[in-house]
Structures are given as C-alpha cells and as structure tokens.
Symmetry: C2
Subunit: 513 residues, 2 copies
C-alpha cells in the first residue's frame, strides 16, 4: 500500500492529467464550433475557406502537442485514482496517449497527404466511373493503415486494431459471429418483400408522403418534434446544411443540422429525428466529467444506436405514426386529411426496390450494403482480396445479397467517399452494429417502461429519454466494449437474433408475407 505522500503524488498527477485533457477538450470544442460554422454559415468566399482550414490546422497542431506532451506522459505514468469512473477515465487516457505517441509525426504527415490525394483521386475516378484511377492511392493508403496498426497495437490483428478506433472493444471474431447470420436471415426476407412490391396498407391507396411540401413548414414541424423528443434548445441549435450532421462545442452547445426537400417529406423528418438522437446522447453526457474521455460517447456504433433508436425504433413505429399523423395534419391539413395511421406507417416503412446506393437505402436493405463492405474490408486486410479485384467482388456480392446488377463503378464500388480518406477498415460496420444495439436497447426499454407504446402514441417521450440518459448517455465510455455496455443495460451482450426478429416480424406484417 502506498504511503500518504506517494498517494497524494498519484492524486496530484491524476489532477494534472485531468487538467491537460480538459484544456485539450476545451480547444477541441472551439474546433467543433469552427467546423460547424464552416459547414453551416461561413461566408462563401474562397479566402474564408482557406483561412479557416489554416486556422483549424494550427489548432489541431496545438491540441496534438498537448495530447502527446511529455508532461501528460509523466502525469499518466504517476497518476492514481479510485472510483469506477475515474479508473475508466485514466485507462482511456493512457490508451489514447499510447496510440497518439506511438505514431511518428512523419507517418501522420504521410497519412494526411495520402488521404488528401485519395480524396482527389476518388473524385476523378468516380466522375469517370473508373476504379483503376483510384486503385493506386487506395493501395498506398491500405499499406499505411497496416503499418500504423502494427505500431499502435503491436501484436494485435491489424483489422482489430483499426476497428478499435471506431468501435472500441469490437473484434473481427465478433463481427464474424454476427454479420453472416444476419445477412443469411435478411437476404431471403428482402426477396420476399420485393415479390410483394407494396405494403398491404398501401395497396390501392395513395401514398400520402408523395407530393410537394413547403420546406419552411417542414422545418417548423421538424423543429417542434425535435423539441418534443427532448432536444434542449438552450443547450444547442438546429440549422440547415447540405449534409445533416451533429457537432458543436460539447454537451452544453450541441449543434445539429438537417435539410429539407419539397419532394421528400420523410427524409427531412427522419433526418431531423436521427440527428436529435445523436444530440440527446451529447446533451445527456455526464456533466461532472465533461472534458474527460470517460464522458465521451463510447463509440461510433453506440452513437449510431442512439440516433437509430429514435429514428427507427420510435419514429418508424406504429405508435409514433399516430403522434406523427396529428403533427402532419396540423402542418399540412389538406394533404393529410382522411389519412389513417396505418397508411402513414406503411408509407414511412416502404422498402426501396432496387436498393443500389447505401445512403438512399432503407432500414431493411441497409445492413446488406454494410455486410458487403465489411466483407471486402476483412478480405483486404487479411490479403484474401486484392484491391484490383474490388469492383468484381462488389458487383458479385450486390447480385447475391440484393439481386442487383451493377454496371457502373460510380454507382458501385466508388459510391462512398469514406475509403478514399482513410476510413478503411472499421468505419462501415459501426452503422449496422448501431442498428442492432438500438433494437436490443429499445427492447429492454420497452420491457422496463410501462405502457411505452401508449406514451409514444400520445407524444410523451420524457420517460424513454430519461431511461436512455441514465442507462447509456451518462455512462459514456465507462465500459470496455459495447458488449459490456449492452450486458449492463440489457442483461446480455449483442444478440443478433433480436435484430433478425425485429426485422422479420415487422416486414412480415407490413408486407403480409
């Protein structure tokens, strides 16, 4: 047991850790503000964009110096603390420091250069619909990723090391247990849905979501719904941007954006609710540990679970369609007069056919887009797939899983920007992990909150929101993996069967399979 003197030294060192990380986090909040501003309201001139880019790069350099400083390293080495939250915080801080300091600056610079060139080459390759123009830089990028993984997690499988950046604690062994089972259950379900073509409640009925809807009225209604779900406008903003996102300056100033199209009422609405889910997570983070890693979201997958829980489990549910119908009838009375909640529910849940583009796909076909990408990423990392073979493999899997013929790289393997900028591997799997977490978490909430369906039907969301706050939001990064978090919240690790059952039951009923 340490003497008092040593113990105090350990405490003091831990205070130093918290102070340095707090400073870095405060600077990151300004980076978040500047990034939001750039995408939402910055003047359009080239000079403004150039100056902002330079300022953000300078700030990033300052933050990187703080996070890799000898002072932090020394304090981390000496620090001691007690209490689960503090212990988790120190563990996360040590992991992050190790990761950051194991990569030499020369490699960081090289990666930035290759990813920037990767983006440019991808833009050109997609415009020409020619994967071979993108392949060389993708090879460079992949080799760099492997080299970085070997440094940050020596002895660990490279895919696992990369995945850990996006989904802490997840491994390819777990992915291989889960994804193929779900894929093999959903692919045939999709084929049956495609055979039916139309949800039962929409057969011979006009789809009430088709038509033109004033975007200002859409924005007003969406904002009101976000507030009803619990978005706190005194701790955030809702604005419009080209691509919806949630960012800002931390839990007390969360900035989400959305977009509205006159001819796509559902997109603006579900987009706003999706970002509201992300925002509720951010606004609900543990106040006492703000600025410390343990207060941050566990992972991308868990973040996505919060957006998807509200978007899919709540907003695409039957009870919500009663609430939503009242909102729509108040905002667009002529268009929604006489529409039933069942019709609205069916309209909100119609499956896209064919589904070729990930970002335009729906709840049912989306996971297959992800499984395809994950399988390719696994193959690229273990060497069983060569980069030059990607287009052929892509098209083969699209045919097998979604029955689609891809004849065009631009609409196939080149459709996503992510791989071009270094998010390979490990980024894509988090989407579907998030949707599975969402189902499992919501199922538990549904058991523990009395009459949840009736409450949602009435527009009463406070109890669910508080339940999520206590069980997920304030927990932050305390757990070592999403499986640990799920076990704590739902009593077991990720169980793919709950997700399969949810989709099977929902679409069997909707399409009368």
């Amino acid at each position: 047991m340490a003497t008092n003197g040593v113990k105090n030294m350990g405490n003091d060192a831990y205070e130093d850790v918290k102070r340095i990380l707090g400073d870095a986090s405060r600077l990151e909040s300004l980076s978040g503000l500047a990034g939001w501003d750039e995408l939402v309201i910055m003047p359009s001139g080239e000079g403004a964009a150039k100056a902002r880019g330079a300022a953000l790069a300078t700030l990033a350099g300052v933050i990187h110096e703080m996070k890799t400083s000898e002072a932090l390293g020394k304090a981390l080495g000496d620090a001691e603390c007690h209490g689960a939250k503090d212990v988790a915080n120190l563990r996360l801080a040590r992991d992050a420091y190790a990761k950051a300091t194991r990569v030499p600056n020369e490699m960081v610079r090289r990666m930035a250069e290759v990813h920037s060139r990767g983006y440019q080459d991808w833009v050109k390759a997609r415009a020409a619909s020619d994967f071979s123009m993108f392949a060389p830089v993708l090879k460079e990028s992949l080799e760099l990723t492997k080299a970085r993984c070997a440094l940050v997690a020596p002895g660990k499988d490279a895919f696992d090391a990369a995945l850990d950046d996006y989904e802490r604690g997840m491994t390819k062994a777990r992915l291989n247990e889960i994804f193929p089972v779900v894929r093999d259950a959903i692919a045939p379900l999709i084929r049956r849905v495609y055979e039916k073509k139309t949800p039962t409640a929409l057969v011979g009925v006009k789809n009430p979501l088709e038509g033109e809807f004033d975007v200002d009225l859409q924005a007003k209604m969406s904002k009101e719904i976000a507030i009803k779900l619990g978005f706190d406008m005194s701790k955030g903003r809702l604005d419009v941007s080209v691509h919806p996102f949630t960012g800002g300056c931390g839990p007390n100033d969360v900035r989400m954006t959305t977009r509205y199209k006159a001819n796509d009422l559902a997109e603006g609405l579900t987009g706003t609710i999706h970002e509201t889910g992300h925002s509720l997570y951010e606004q609900g983070r543990c106040e006492e540990f703000i600025g410390q890693p343990v207060s941050e979201a566990h992972s991308m997958g868990v973040h996505e679970s919060q957006s998807l829980l509200w978007e899919r489990m709540v907003a695409l549910s039957k009870p919500f369609s009663h609430f939503l119908l009242r909102e729509l009838q108040a905002t667009f009375p002529a268009e929604f007069d006489g529409v039933s909640a069942d019709t609205l529910y069916a309209a909100m849940n119609t499956v896209k056919n064919p589904s070729t583009i990930r970002v335009e796909s729906d709840e049912l076909t989306y996971p297959l887009h992800i499984f395809l990408r994950t399988e390719l990423e696994l193959g690229l990392m273990d060497g069983s797939i060569a980069i030059d073979d990607l287009p052929a493999k892509w098209n083969e899997k699209m045919k097998a899983y979604l029955g689609v013929d891809i004849t065009d790289d631009a609409k196939g393997v080149l459709q996503d920007v992510h791989w071009s900028s270094g998010a390979l591997p490990g980024y894509f799997p988090t989407y579907t992990l998030g949707s599975m977490y969402a189902v499992q978490i919501y199922n538990t909430a549904h058991k523990q909150i009395a009459d949840l369906d009736a409450k949602i039907e009435k527009g009463e969301f406070a109890e669910l929101r508080e339940w999520l706050r206590v069980n997920v939001h304030v927990v932050g990064s305390e757990c070592e993996s999403a499986d640990e978090l799920l076990t704590r919240v739902t009593g077991k690790p990720l169980d793919a069967q709950e997700y399969i059952d949810y989709l099977t039951n929902k679409y069997t009923e909707l399409y009368g399979l």
Copy 2:
C-alpha cells in the same frame, strides 16, 4: 554589412517570426469566431456560456504563450529584413513582444481579477447611483495601470504609455494641443444651436423619421445599403445582436452586427453604415501580410475614422440624403412619399437637447463628452484629480460644456462601463480623434475624386471605397503614428481646424445661425 551567411540567418529568423505570429493570428481568428458566436447565435443556456468562457480562456493562454515564447524572442533578436512593410512589421512585432514580456504573469492575473471585480462593483454602484461604492476598486485599478505603464515603457510618461495601447504614436502633448481648441470652438456653437431648437428645414414640417417602421424591412434595406457601400458578403456576414459590433475571423470573414428598433429608423441605418465602415477597413487589409501585425488596423482612432467617415461624412451628408431618400421611398413608400431630401437631411442631423448620455448623443455634442472624460483621465494620471473628486468634477464640466445639471451618478460619472474594466486612460480619446481623422481624410478624398458629391447622390461609392483602400486600408500599421498616416494621405498631420470648420459650417447652415 553582414556577410551572406549572417544575412540568411537573419532572413530565416524573420521567417520564424512570421510563422509564429501567423500561428498566433490564426488562433486569434478562432477566438474572434467564438466571440462573435457567443454574442450572436450561441444557445442561451448558462452551461454554454460557461463552457465558452473556459474555452476562450484556454485559447488565450495558448496564444499568450506563443507571443511570449523564448523561440519568438530569439527569432526577433536575430531577425533581419528589408522593404518598408517588412521593416515596419518587425518593429511592431518587437514592440509587442517587449510589452507582453515585461509584465509578469502575477500582474496579469492581478489585473484580470481587479478588472473583473471593477465591473461587478460598477454594476452595483450604478444600480444604487452611488459612486463611492465604485471608488475603492477604481483606485486599485488605476494604481495597477500606473505600475504596468512603468514596466512596459520605462521612463515614459504613464499617460502616454497607456494611450499608446489604444492610439499608437499619440501623446498627451498632442491631445493638449488639439482637444481644448476644439472644445472652446464647439461649446458656444452648441449653445447657439440649442437656442434655435430646430433645423430650419424642419420648422413646421413633420419629421419623417418619427414613427414606427417594420424591423424586417429596415434590416433588408440596411443590408442592401451595406452591400452598395461595398461590404463583400462573400467575405463576411451581417447579423443582428444586442450591441452592434464588427468582429469575426479576419479580412476574409468579417462579421458585423447591428440592431433595429421599430421606433428608431435612423439608429439601425446609421449603425449598419458605421459597422460597414469598420468592415470595409477589415476587408481591405493587405492580403500579402495577413496574420502579421503590419496588416492590422493602425489604431482604434484610425479604425473609428473609417466607420465615422461612412457614417457621418457620407451618410449624414446632403448628397447621400438624395440616395437615401430613394431607398426609403422604395422600402417605406407611404411614410416617405412627398418628403424632400432637404427635410430628410435635417431630420438625420438634428442635435439632441439636452445631451447627457454619451452613447445617445449626436455628432455635435459627442466630442464634449469625450473631452470631459479625457480631461478627467489626464488629471487622474498626473495626480491633479483624486478619484473621490470625480463626480463633482464630472458634473462641473457637464454644466460648463453642455449646460446640463447632473443630479444622479448613474446618469453622470457612472454611465460608461469602460473605466470599470481597465480601459483607463486612453480609450475614450480615440472616438473623437477618429472623427477628426475622418473629416480630414474625407476632405482630401473630396478634393482628389472628381464629382464625389454627384457620385454619392447617385449611389456610386466604389471610387471612394477604393481610394480609402489604397490610402488607408492596405497601409495597415505601416506608420508610426496617425499623424504620420495623415501626413501621407492628406499632406499634413491632424489639423483640428478642419474638424471645427466642418461642424461650424454644417450646423450654421442647418440651424440658420
């Protein structure tokens, strides 16, 4: 003469200076953004304000470290450069470094504490209208200022040292040459105006500016006018805030704000034009030296000269009233139908009577509010006035210069926030210096630009704006004093007589004296 080797070393050191100052400036642009955001669009919650304050304090610490770093000191010592702009830049950088490093951190902290307490005590004292509640902290603050002046400019008069922070190169000797002469010329002019009561053109005529005007229409018109004057919306924004200001992230992203009141059309309009003047200065700064001190505005007084040149010399002029009348008639047709340009001109230039509050006063009485404050500041610094005597001295001078009886500290010596937060002495004089510079610069522009009145009447402002850009904006901080800048632009240093003549002629005609 240095050998080539030494010369290159000097050049390299100068490049280091520019790099470090450039980094600091880029971080300052983010501070400018966060400050703007805080005042204009940040969520209203207390948590957001607290987090922003902490983040800005952390960033300020980082910037201060950069600007007082040994690396910068070393580079400044070794640097060599050629060319007027670079030589001025290095001189400014060395001055700023000396000022920043001569004040110990302990004194910086003490000043922050005293100024913060000063603000709090001032708020309480003003609420109670009791100067004695504010006097103790003001004494502390003044002693600290004197101590700081002795450190930053050893051997220099303390008032001059403090004034230099606001108005580089100005001295109390110059103020004493200028201010009393102007005061003694304008005070009697004001008395004659007060006797007349109303401008000739408004006698028996309805004042067209009185009434209620839709604020959205005001905002639309003001924005259009700002753009016509030359505000580049691709390099800036115009928004609404409680107190109008110009800030933002540098020349490529200048953010100005204004406010509109339904019952005060003139305030919103002249406020927007005032901030447009500040913004044109910022947007016109020397692109090649952005991030370097030489590209920055020369001083507060010169900055104010640019806002006041557009607000007063242009927007309050007869030619402009023709242009403005067309804008008003297009925006508020019912209200301005049948109004003449002469009537509008008289309405825009009516002198307030009585004038007791500086921020509510007009072009003619404003300088007397400044002279009064400057005389008190001079007396406080040389010891001829005691802090406890301030209220009596204030009231005595108000009576002498503006014929007003002040019976209430809140509306007298406690009316301004500035002294409470350390802006004593040297801040207030810059307002009237700015208005004098504006007259002298405009008189020269008027001689050098053919048919300027006719162009303004037609709404053609480009030539004047470009003239100011070349003669003032891109010059930045090249000159050692405003007198040097004025000599370059107008052929002579500040000449108070031009200001006296401008006011005398204008108000003699307006009021038929």
